[in-house]
């Protein structure tokens, strides 16, 4: 790695307060994108092997410096009131549906869950985890997960979510469900 380029990338990441796309870095540095990406990956690996107090993560389509998660307990003492209130089961369910089915209309979420979900959708929008894109004309708004959701979960994009099939209940559980549906038959 050329020390000069490493210096520039570190300087930019130091002052950035949101993930910086590799293409932006490539433009600023006037270098091919692939070269910059290789440099970023090298930096990220380097920080881990050197055991630094910060790490470089690829999230929400860009790169951003974060504190080393090992230091979380001390940072929590340093930064007070960091912890968010936990999401309810219903909120997590809606979040999962949006993440896997985006863009999705409010009515479709309600249809999948079988219960009215407007309140939960509002809460998640308020927490900045999902966003609505207004459609033209009378078509309903469609919801997608936000960049801050991707940052909070450490995902580069929804394509990095595990396959939905991995979460399907096993055949034994399904048989149990089926048995409960047909008492006495």
């Amino acid at each position: 790695m050329i020390p000069e380029q490493r210096k520039i990338v570190e300087a930019i990441l130091l002052v950035a307060d949101e993930p910086v796309p590799a293409t932006t870095l490539a433009q600023v540095m006037e270098k091919p994108r692939a070269e910059v990406e290789a440099l970023l990956a090298e930096l990220a690996d380097g920080y881990v092997t050197e055991g630094r107090g910060f790490v470089l993560r690829r999230v929400a389509g860009g790169w951003r410096l974060y504190s080393n998660p090992d230091c979380a307990p001390w940072l929590e003492r340093f930064v007070t009131s960091h912890k968010h209130s936990r999401l309810t089961g219903a909120a997590l369910e809606v979040l999962a549906i949006v993440a896997y089915r985006q863009p999705i209309a409010r009515a479709e979420i309600t249809e999948i869950r079988g219960v009215e979900s407007d309140g939960v959708v509002k809460t998640l929008t308020g927490r900045g985890l999902i966003e609505a894109q207004e459609q033209s004309g009378a078509s309903p708004a469609l919801f997608s997960v936000s960049d801050s959701f991707l940052e909070a979960t450490g995902l580069d994009g929804v394509h990095e979510l595990p396959r939905l099939a991995d979460f399907m209940p096993d055949s034994e559980t399904v048989q149990d469900m089926e048995a409960k549906l047909s008492p006495g038959a």
């Binding site: 930064v79 999401l87 993440a99 940052e151 909070a152 995902l155 469900m177 549906l181 006495g184």
Partner: protein, 272 residues
């Protein structure tokens, strides 16, 4: 434990009753569902606390009995079709339960990632202020104020205040610019039916093609709903926000739909 029922034809747990009925050992015609329900409610009222599992179990069995009985009372529906309908309903319900369980699990995964993510504190970058360093130009408050208020005299302010505080001049409500609504649902039914007679299936975009404004498109759509309600057309929309495909069933006459739609008076002051 299952709820016990006491009837002339049967005495014992309610799920056994359902079992016997499906095996045709007991005729559901002889079973008074009203008595069962009343006894159950009485039992619940005297019992201490409600066992949710038992209550749910009772509801499922009672609902099934109700469905079986209503099917038995309607001679046109055969037992076989009722059973296959019940099975179909059950498959559908099971599929939905599995889907919900899947998303619940996926939600747990996301929750875990969110908790792990809380251990990372993002570099906030805010320690240098680009404006402060003079790298980004920032208009000062003074320069902004002087620009906005340039050339303003106390007299101009007084004139503006007098204008704003003066009583508003009363004017009659001018509605001459409003075009009266001339489209009627009944006319639209004839138009849509006419178009469909030469081309079916047709898209809604085609059927509302001649409409000149939004109201007319809405009225065409209402007409379509009337035709659908009357069984004259079949509707299909394969994609979200996609075009609606309309096909003529040929089972109902347009005049019948019109007479059914007679009381439709959504268009205020329209002709007809």
């Amino acid at each position: 434990m299952a709820h016990e029922v006491k009837l002339e034809v049967f005495e014992g747990p309610i799920d056994l009753l359902l079992h016997l009925i499906t095996r045709r050992r007991v005729d559901i015609y002889e079973v008074s569902l009203a008595t069962i329900t009343e006894d159950y409610l009485a039992a619940v009222a005297t019992a201490e606390g409600l066992n949710l599992d038992a209550a749910t179990g009772f509801l499922v069995v009672a609902a099934t009995l109700l469905e079986l009985k209503s099917a038995r009372l309607l001679p046109s529906v055969s037992d076989e079709s009722v059973r296959s309908e019940l099975l179909e309903e059950r498959d559908f319900l099971l599929a939905r339960l599995v889907e919900c369980a899947t998303y619940r699990e996926a939600g747990m995964w996301i929750s875990n990632e969110l908790i792990l993510g809380e251990r990372f504190f993002g570099r906030a970058g805010g320690s240098i202020d680009l404006e402060e360093l003079g790298l980004v130009e920032r208009p000062t408050l003074a320069s902004r104020t002087s620009e906005t208020l340039a050339g303003l005299t106390p007299d101009m302010l007084a004139a503006a205040a007098a204008h704003a505080l003066a009583p508003a001049i009363e004017r009659g409500l001018d509605i001459s610019h409003l075009a009266p609504i001339t489209a009627s649902v009944k006319d639209a039914i004839y138009q849509v039916a006419g178009l469909l007679s030469s081309r079916s299936p047709a898209s809604f975009a085609y059927l509302s093609g001649g409409a000149t404004n939004r109201i007319e498109v809405i009225v065409r759509f209402l007409a379509l709903l009337e035709l659908y309600k009357g069984g004259a057309v079949e509707l299909e929309q394969s994609a979200r926000f996609g075009d609606i495909v309309v096909s003529w069933t040929g089972e109902v006459k347009v005049s019948e739909v019109i007479s059914e739609a007679e009381e439709y008076s959504l268009v205020p002051g329209g002709p007809g």
